[in-house]
């Protein structure tokens, strides 16, 4: 703080050290974008209502109460709060430039926003309160608790009595407000503490337990995301015209993932936030939700790396996923719908996670009361934010638990690292199940992978067997159709035998060998031609069987030789029909080689993403802005008219604001209604909405001047 009282806010800022300026810009990042030219412009921005409101919303209850006291011109020391706390709060208010000068005075807008009627003298209040009827007292207590205005139509009743007594003040036609002295008294009576936040209700829980649960959730998330996108790569769901995903598709997905629709919505939204999922076009040129090409590279990472991508995306996502499945107004809310982003969500999430991270070591939120106490604490931290937002605390904790950032109502160790912006992969890697390289084969034709399989192995295995159950382990089932799928993809019987024998820890059951041999024996018994669409087989009986199969008439088969059948149905139509009949034809290319079919997989392009808002806050940027302001200050200081007059619009506004803040007189050049420029001596009071409200010396009254008609401003003398 400068020792001598500064004349204007701009002067004070000019006198601030670089650290102080940086602190201000860090705390109120909106001031720095775009970078202000010099301190006077900065000072002008500091007092703009929108920016001040934003700063006020970031204050906690203690800071707000101290600021209120300053506004009410009460000594903050009289609040019954330890002097040290008051001084800390004041320091922060000064840093934020919400109060300035010496003694501390609030900037005008703060006074305007916060100022309460003074009310009856404090010594009379207890007496007045004592005589109140219970309904009236309830009204007062409620208003003090919620810090809101009351509504009153003017009708007789307890509210009217309270107004008559001066315990409530009529602020406009419909509203009454609790005056300052009454509020102080009620706060004291209710024992509301302003100097410390309410403690969260906790219970003991070992960090190791929390980590285990969270790692399980993290692993599930990665697995579900992979399952989801794998499925959507081949069976993309249509995108709704209004954007978003249909309710039925969401339900199907929930069934696929074995979860409730709200969890499925979270998985989908998180994948989209991470850029793994986006709208694209399928072959039929329908808008659909498809995995992006980023998904392919995501797949290559270790589970911990993959999780990190998802967790970071969730942390930065402003989308209100908990609203999916509900209604806003009368409109149902779909997953991936464009209506979901909420500007305040990320800030609230950061607050919630910060509180969770602040819990004592080896403690978790108590069951039942924990969330409520956390909400109370958040309310203390940010009393000016709308209460309805705190409804999101519980869903947010649930989401964090599903992500694995939290577990069992406490922060996981690796979640803490992610939130702090550090690399959690090592910590997480240790907790995740190690990939296994073998399976257990059983006589009922199931293969069980007793843990997450290595990727290459999993890919191969899912080709020859169908997945039956997922989770920590995966259960695969071999069936004729799945083995045939492998043959269709070009495997030979010997390869399949080798593969199962080499990956299984248990002996290959005889039934499986028989199955593979049975399929291989029947596989390729028929060969279908491309150009002429022919079916040929060395096995005459097989062809006879085909010719007599039910439904074979529509294939228009004609037997041209004991071992050859032709058809005029295009091969693309013919082939699936024949497979439906239970046969296993192989398609031959023109040169007689066997063609290998692979199901088509769709991909969308990944969207280019610019990290939101993060840049403006980086220390490097702040430093650049601070030095820019300094340079601006130096260059204006060089000019002879520094601070004495202004003619550019930006300077004019800055000077007017400054004058309003410090109650200075100014001479303005003003274009009158007749088009002539006249000089007027004024004392500005408020600058907003393109108007300056000022006291005009000449007419001895308050007048409004349009900013755009002001040609120049200068200090008198």
């Amino acid at each position: 703080m400068s020792t001598s009282a500064p004349r204007t806010l701009a002067d004070q800022l000019r006198g601030w050290s670089e650290q102080q300026l940086s602190a201000l810009l860090d705390a109120r990042p909106d001031l720095a974008a775009p970078a202000p030219h010099d301190s006077s412009q900065l000072a002008a921005r500091v007092v703009v209502k929108a920016s001040v409101l934003r700063a006020l919303d970031g204050l906690d209850t203690l800071e707000l109460t101290v600021l209120q006291a300053v506004v009410q011109e009460t000594d903050p020391a009289a609040l019954g709060v330890p002097a040290e706390a008051v001084e800390q709060a004041l320091d922060r208010l000064r840093t934020l430039a919400l109060v300035w000068g010496s003694p501390d005075r609030p900037v005008l807008v703060v006074r305007e926003v916060l100022r309460l009627p003074d009310g009856p003298p404090p010594e009379e209040v207890p007496g007045l309160l004592e005589r109140l009827e219970p309904p009236a007292r309830t009204i007062l207590d409620h208003l003090a608790e919620t810090r809101a205005d009351g509504r009153w139509s003017g009708a007789a009743g307890p509210t009217a009595d309270l107004v008559a007594l001066g315990l409530l003040v009529h602020v406009d036609e419909r509203h009454v407000r609790l005056p300052w002295s009454v509020r102080l008294e009620l706060d004291a009576a209710a024992g509301r503490r302003v100097d410390a936040p309410p403690e969260p209700a906790t219970s003991e829980r070992a960090q190791a337990l929390v980590d285990r649960a969270a790692a399980g959730a993290a692993f599930e998330l990665v697995r579900r995301t992979e399952l989801l996108l794998d499925r959507w790569g081949t069976h993309p769901p249509a995108a709704l015209k209004a954007g978003g995903l249909g309710v039925r598709e969401l339900r199907t997905t929930a069934a696929l993932l074995h979860v409730e629709p709200d969890v499925a919505a979270l998985v989908i939204e998180t994948a989209a936030a991470a850029g793994l999922l986006d709208q694209g076009m399928t072959d039929d040129v329908d808008a659909a939700w498809l995995p992006t090409d980023a998904y392919d590279s995501w797949l290559l990472g270790s589970p911990a790396r993959r999780w990190l991508v998802l967790a970071r995306a969730w942390l930065a996502s402003p989308r209100l996923v908990s609203a999916v499945g509900g209604r806003i107004g009368d409109k149902p809310v779909n997953a991936l719908s464009p209506d979901l982003p909420r500007s305040w969500l990320v800030a609230l999430r950061n607050d919630v996670l910060a509180e969770l991270a602040d819990l004592p070591a080896d403690h978790a939120l108590a069951a039942g009361t924990g969330v409520a106490s956390l909400t109370q604490r958040l309310r203390w931290r940010r009393p000016r934010r709308p209460l309805a937002r705190l409804d999101q605390v519980a869903p947010m904790l649930a989401e964090a638990a599903l992500l694995g950032i939290a577990g069992l109502d406490a922060m996981s160790s690796f979640g803490r690292l992610v939130v702090a912006g550090e690399d959690p992969t090592d910590a997480l890697e240790r907790l995740l199940p190690a990939p296994v390289d073998h399976i257990l084969l059983q006589a009922d034709l199931t293969a069980i992978a007793p843990g997450p399989l290595e990727q290459e192995l999993a890919r191969k295995l899912s080709l020859v067997a169908d997945v039956e159950s997922r989770g920590g382990a995966t259960v695969y089932r071999f069936a004729a159709s799945s083995v045939r799928r492998a043959f269709d993809a070009g495997w030979s019987a010997a390869e399949v035998h080798d593969f199962v024998a080499s990956t299984s820890r248990t002996p290959v059951p005889q039934s499986l060998s028989y199955l593979v041999d049975d399929v291989s024996r029947r596989f390729g018994t028929l060969r279908a031609g491309h150009a002429e669409s022919f079916l040929r087989s060395d096995d005459e009986t097989a062809l006879t069987e085909l010719m007599h199969a039910t439904g074979a008439e529509s294939l228009r088969l004609r037997r041209i030789a004991p071992t050859v059948v032709v058809s005029d149905v295009p091969l693309g139509t013919l082939l699936p029909r024949i497979r439906e009949l239970g046969l296993a034809p192989v398609v031959e290319a023109v040169d007689g080689t066997v063609r290998v079919a692979r199901p088509d997989v769709f991909r969308a392009r990944s969207r280019r993403r610019t990290p939101a808002g993060a840049g403006a806050r980086t220390a490097a940027h702040t430093a650049a802005v601070v030095s820019a302001i300094r340079v601006g200050d130096r260059s204006t200081a060089g000019r002879p008219t520094r601070g004495a007059s202004a003619s550019t619009p930006a300077d004019v506004i800055a000077m007017l604001r400054q004058a309003a803040e410090s109650r200075e007189q100014l001479v303005i050049g003003y274009v009158g209604n007749d088009g002539t420029v006249a000089e007027r001596m004024v004392t500005p009071e408020r600058v907003e909405g393109g108007q300056v409200t000022a006291y005009d010396e000449r007419s001895d009254s308050q007048r409004s001047f349009s900013l755009h008609r002001i040609t120049a401003v200068s200090r008198p003398g």
Binding site: R212, G216, G407, P433, T446, I448, P450, A473, T544
Partner: protein, 555 residues
């Protein structure tokens, strides 16, 4: 990471690694609340179902125990959602109670207002509830009168709503009748006593015991506890006769006190054994034999083989809620998925034998299942290829090649008691002629059947050709070899049951080892017959039987 034997899957199945050192402890711990679904050689699959959890709850386990077991034995982190789900599901049981009321008869009550309102307003139960009763002591959530005749329907409906009620309304004593166990030359095994006791303390419910563990005796012990007239419902006549002879032998009851109520005889005595079939028989849209249920003031109703209980019996049972009911079965799993009806109408599981006992009782009989594959001769193959789909199975089943293989097998096992089982009568006749053995078919008289069985049992005969009817005969002990030439045996569950019966573990040999029973199935390669064989193979493997495939040429 915990190195436990259990892996909890997200679809609520539990995989248990059998060779793990903690596998036994784990199996014991999860048995009360998880249903065994498959038990192949390395990894057993259990499933968590709401019913299983409610059964555990009824047996006095709580969610914390269940969660603790899962966390203790699980190799990987257990999905949090699953734990929450377990706790929530278990908390649902017993929120609602059915109580006796001095003036209103029966009352549905709850201490939980929200749950009570949800249920009371539900359309599904609307017709079953009477007037609301206020200020019932011990029912802070609310209470409502229920007509006693709706007791069963209400319980069924509540289960469907997901709020199973606990039934505290008690039972009528029924007409007294002295019954006591006659333990002069045998004694009740400890677990049988335990099963009867826990049934009696629980009121009504199901006792789960493996085949051959003496379920009949548990029923007899329950009757001795009840000391009242008893209605016993069994699957078929042969089984009814077996019950009768067991009861005469093991209790103070005499032949005259036990009646048989079946297609052949309609006797109503203090202890009456009726078949499901006769009860469910319909004539002109009505069940003429339904009045049997009210013919006497029964004090106890015994349901044999609960998992086979036909659906109409459920409807009839709904009206019998005031009587004590005991269900006896080897498995709670029903092919038709009506486990919920068993739970709500007969009662929760009251007793489950520990695994070790099951094993020593030969639940998994050391049976050797062999699939013999024959190739259709070229001519028959062509006939098969050109046949109608509904004819194909018959063609594939009745090939002459099978007769030859059966003959060869019979020769190999000459001297051992052998059964040849088939579905098609022509084929059976052909076989009987070829093998020179008597044949039992549907039209064989009961008398003749019993004569042949008796001869087979005593060793006078060592080869019988039987049709499907043999599936329903309960007492064919001594068959060491079974050769199945055709026939899909109804549900897979039923097949395993019959197989278990047919292949009872034999008396131990001089060296103390059991000679495993052989079960041959002759299957035509590359036909629908082979497809059916696949299902059987899967099921038998899931039940833990050894299964081999051989070529007819390699025999």
């Amino acid at each position: 990471m915990n190195d436990g034997p259990l892996i909890v899957q997200s679809d609520k199945t539990l995989l248990l690694e059998v060779d793990h050192e903690q596998a036994d402890a784990c199996r014991k711990a999860i048995a009360p609340f998880a249903e065994l679904e498959r038990s192949p050689e390395h990894i057993h699959t259990y499933r968590l179902t709401p019913l299983g959890l409610w059964n555990a709850r009824a047996a006095g386990h709580d969610a914390e125990q269940v969660v603790n077991v899962l966390l203790t034995f699980s190799r990987y982190a257990v999905p949090h959602a699953l734990l929450v789900d377990v706790a929530e599901t278990m908390a649902r049981y017993g929120r609602l109670r059915l109580d006796k009321h001095p003036t209103h008869g029966l009352v549905l009550a709850s201490n939980d207002r929200a749950v009570f309102e949800e249920v009371a307003r539900s359309k599904k139960v609307a017709g079953m509830l009477g007037e609301r009763l206020d200020d019932q002591p011990g029912a802070e959530g609310g209470a409502v009168a229920v007509h006693p005749s709706q007791r069963g329907n209400l319980k069924q409906a509540l289960l469907k709503l997901g709020w199973p009620a606990e039934d505290f309304a008690g039972y009528v004593d029924g007409e007294a009748h002295a019954i006591k166990l006659d333990e002069s030359d045998w004694t009740l095994r400890a677990y049988q006593q335990e099963a009867a006791d826990s049934f009696w303390h629980g009121g009504s419910g199901v006792v789960v015991l493996p085949c051959g563990a003496g379920k009949t005796l548990v029923g007899a012990a329950a009757m001795a506890r009840a000391q009242a007239t008893t209605l016993i419902l069994v699957t078929n006549t042969v089984s009814a006769r077996q019950w009768k002879s067991e009861l005469v032998r093991r209790t103070s009851l005499t032949e005259e006190e036990i009646g048989e109520y079946s297609g052949a005889r309609k006797e109503i005595r203090p202890v009456t054994i009726a078949t499901y079939q006769v009860l469910t028989m319909r004539r002109k849209g009505v069940y003429p034999h339904l009045e049997l249920l009210d013919a006497r003031d029964w004090g106890l109703i015994v349901y044999d083989e609960v998992h086979l209980l036909p659906a109409p019996i459920f409807r009839m049972t709904a009206d019998l809620q005031a009587r004590r009911r005991i269900g006896l079965t080897a498995t709670l799993v029903r092919e038709d998925g009506r486990e919920g009806d068993v739970f709500s109408l007969i009662g929760p599981k009251r007793y489950d034998a520990p695994w070790k006992d099951i094993e020593s009782q030969g639940w998994i009989a050391p049976a050797d299942c062999v699939e013999v594959r024959v190739t259709l001769p070229e001519g028959e193959r062509l006939a098969y290829a050109t046949a109608d789909p509904d004819e194909r199975y018959r063609l594939a089943s009745c090939t002459h090649a099978k007769t030859l293989v059966a003959e060869q097998l019979v020769k190999q096992h000459a001297g051992e008691p052998t059964l040849v089982i088939g579905q098609y009568l022509d084929q059976l006749d052909e076989l009987a002629e070829h093998l020179d053995a008597p044949v039992i078919k549907g039209d064989t008289t009961v008398k003749e059947r019993e004569r042949l069985y008796e001869a087979f049992r005593t060793g006078e005969l060592d080869l019988l050709v039987v049709s499907k009817v043999a599936n329903f005969s309960v007492d064919l002990p001594g068959a060491a070899v079974a050769i199945q030439v055709s026939g899909s045996f109804g549900s897979r569950q039923e097949e395993a049951q019959r197989l278990g019966r047919l292949l009872r573990p034999k008396a131990k040999g001089p060296d103390g080892t059991q000679k495993p029973a052989r079960f041959y199935a002759i299957v035509s390669r590359d036909t629908v017959d082979a497809d059916f064989a696949q299902n059987r193979q899967r099921f038998l493997a899931e039940q833990g039987y050894a299964y081999r495939i051989v070529d007819a040429a390699d025999l």
